[in-house]
């Protein structure tokens, strides 16, 4: 086929009506730019919100839950094996939160190639003493380095130095909400009562703000050794091991595997945070819907221009057919016109979309709940650009196809007779 000739004719027809074609192309540009900016922004927001929870959540958490033994004595009885046994008021017995033999478990986990890293943790229920009242709260004993590396602990420290927690003995980083209630400043000493009744003074070295108010009102952090002292436990005492995997999607399977292997309770991130996934997918769906709707509108613009062009160029189409161009050639000419509008518009759209994203990226976004974020979040994923291009080419092809089909069916005899 003589594509060069077809493109040449398409180009001439297009340039003869360059103003209208430019308007049609701008329609595509606008929709692609909006598509990219919208998706970039929405996904940026998703990443941010997911990060708020997911970044700081272990992919697999190992812990011991105090709960009744699922194997009650009646189950051991051969006589009642085939019966339904109803036991009421079963109590948990001998419950210990400690993970036994955790040094060996940590060693095994570190050797597992699927594991990115792990952070041991102690959770202690406490009361913060403030004058006559006590405020209930949680002190988490953490390995500062591992927590910073794996769970971005650093990002949430709004004042004070994270390393002081490690370097200063008996120090604590208070949740912002806790600090406000206690009227505590950095350098102050706060009294903390453990669930066993022991009171311990701790020096405030920083404030912590997660962005989730309910957490900030109860949560504080101390080093593992400080927390062990607080609880009166030896230095092998650990209640949780938070594992971060290389591949998050493997979490449910690995969680099950570890539960069996180490005889502990495990929880995977998918189970713990199912609702955040839904929020993300709703936002993404909305963005795609809006973007594709814009593209379809742009497609109608192209459809109109082509119809008008064909109406104006009836004579030219008739003579092309009379001198030996087939219906197929004519169709190709108009599809070429439509696709050029689409490709040109999409190209400009990709650039404008990127620029628009970059501009949004500069707009200040100061939320006290999100200390690590200074401007609106934008995701620059290449996939939006690819999807935008593919969709624009599909819509412009379809927008061109029907007018082109009509042009290819024009009967030159009717046109020539009409003159």
């Amino acid at each position: 086929m003589n594509y060069k000739l077809i493109l040449d004719i398409a180009k001439s027809l297009l340039l003869a009506r360059w103003k209208q074609t430019l308007v049609a192309a701008i329609g595509v540009t606008f929709s692609i730019a909006m598509f990219i900016a919208l998706l970039g922004f929405m996904t940026g927001l998703n990443d941010l919100l997911d990060g708020l929870i997911l970044n700081r959540t272990a992919h697999v958490r190992l812990f011991n839950e105090i709960k009744p033994n699922p194997n009650q004595p009646i189950n051991a009885s051969d006589a009642y094996k085939t019966h339904h046994n109803f036991i009421e008021s079963v109590k948990a017995v001998g419950g210990r939160l400690e993970i036994y033999n955790n040094a060996a478990i940590i060693k095994t986990l570190n050797a597992d190639p699927r594991v990115l890293g792990l952070a041991p943790k102690i959770t202690a229920q406490v009361l913060y003493n403030s004058g006559a009242t006590d405020i209930t709260g949680i002190v988490s004993g953490i390995d500062v380095d591992a927590e910073t590396k794996l769970f971005f602990f650093n990002d949430y420290i709004v004042s004070g130095k994270v390393n002081d927690l490690k370097n200063i003995a008996n120090s604590i980083v208070l949740g912002k909400g806790v600090a406000e209630k206690l009227l505590a400043n950095i350098g102050d000493i706060v009294q903390v009562t453990t669930s066993k009744g022991d009171i311990m003074p701790l020096r405030v070295v920083g404030f912590f703000q997660s962005g989730v108010l309910d957490i900030d009102k109860v949560q504080s952090y101390a080093s593992i050794s400080t927390t062990q002292k607080l609880l009166g436990k030896g230095n092998g005492y650990i209640t949780d091991i938070n594992v971060k995997l290389k591949d998050l999607t493997l979490a449910p399977a690995i969680a099950k595997e570890y539960a069996q292997l180490f005889r502990v309770d495990t929880e995977d991130i998918q189970t713990a945070n199912a609702q955040y996934e839904t929020g993300s997918s709703v936002r993404t769906t909305i963005s795609y819907t809006v973007g594709i709707t814009l593209l379809i509108v742009a497609g109608f613009g192209i459809y109109n221009i082509l119809n008008m062009m064909i109406y104006e160029k009836m004579d030219s189409i008739a003579i092309l057919k009379a001198t030996g161009f087939s219906g197929k050639d004519v169709r190709r000419i108009f599809i070429a016109i439509s696709l050029s509008i689409g490709v040109f518009g999409a190209f400009l759209g990709l650039i404008s979309g990127f620029l628009l994203s970059a501009i949004i990226d500069q707009i200040p976004f100061n939320n006290p709940g999100l200390p690590a974020v200074k401007t609106y979040p934008i995701n620059y994923s290449l996939s939006f650009y690819i999807i935008g291009t593919i969709f624009s080419i599909i819509t412009t092809y379809l927008a061109g196809f029907f007018p082109a089909q009509k042009a290819s069916k024009i009967d030159p005899v009717i046109i020539i007779r009409g003159k």
Partner: protein, 227 residues
């Protein structure tokens, strides 16, 4: 032995809108290579209708049409387009030049479509055709910058570009003044004499017809005279 270029056998055609009217009735004739034939007849007697059938653009008829000894019935749209491109040159009453293109490009288009020669050669050949018609100086102008007579000459050059077996014209001088009409006639005459070009021209200009080799006269869809 003269060679038959085009042959019509028992061609009949009716229009069915709004009522069935028979416009062509048993048309039989053939044209030999190098003949300059004119078709005359009163307005509405079916001359254009016949020409559109002979040119393969209208396929809705009964009877047989042979061009270059090939049967045209049962050919597909694309095959007919190829035959028009290769074997038939057209000149209509209206010039049908594409205003987006230069005169030269207008002439070249059917040649580029045929792609028998490369673009450079097609351009060279288009220039030669324009020279035959005495308008080579207008080659680089846009089509809409020419006068009516010049446009019609460009249309003839375009009809010539692929060295067609036959040139068909539907009142090609219908829109021209006397001087330009004579000019176009002289070009046709020159084409038959110098290049042995076969021509089939519909006209209502008696003096034009009188100077051709053969006149086919029609009335009410029939051939009443062929000499």
């Amino acid at each position: 032995m003269s060679q038959i270029v085009l042959q019509a056998k028992n061609i009949n055609k009716s229009f069915h809108d709004p009522i069935t009217v028979k416009v062509l009735n048993n048309i039989n004739f053939s044209i030999n290579k190098g003949e300059f034939v004119s078709i005359i007849g009163k307005s509405g007697c079916g001359k254009s209708t016949l020409l559109y059938i002979l040119s393969t653009m209208d396929t809705d008829y009964e009877g047989e049409l042979l061009i270059d000894k090939q049967e045209m019935k049962n050919k597909k749209e694309a095959q007919l387009a190829k035959i028009r491109n290769e074997k038939i040159g057209f000149v209509f009453q209206f010039h049908y030049l594409l205003n987006e293109f230069t005169v030269l490009k207008n002439v070249m288009l059917p040649g580029l479509k045929l792609a028998k020669y490369n673009a450079k050669e097609v351009e060279h050949r288009a220039m030669e055709k324009l020279k035959i018609l005495g308008i080579e100086n207008e080659a680089l102008k846009k089509a809409n910058q020419l006068s009516g007579g010049q446009k019609q000459r460009v249309a003839i050059a375009r009809a010539l570009i692929n060295d067609p077996l036959i040139i068909m014209g539907d009142e090609p001088t219908g829109n021209l003044d006397k001087k330009n009409s004579e000019n176009v006639f002289d070009i046709f005459k020159q084409l038959t004499q110098e290049f042995n070009q076969t021509l089939l021209i519909v006209t209502h200009d008696q003096s034009f017809a009188r100077n051709t080799n053969r006149i086919i006269e029609m009335e009410d869809g029939r051939i009443i005279n062929d000499k």
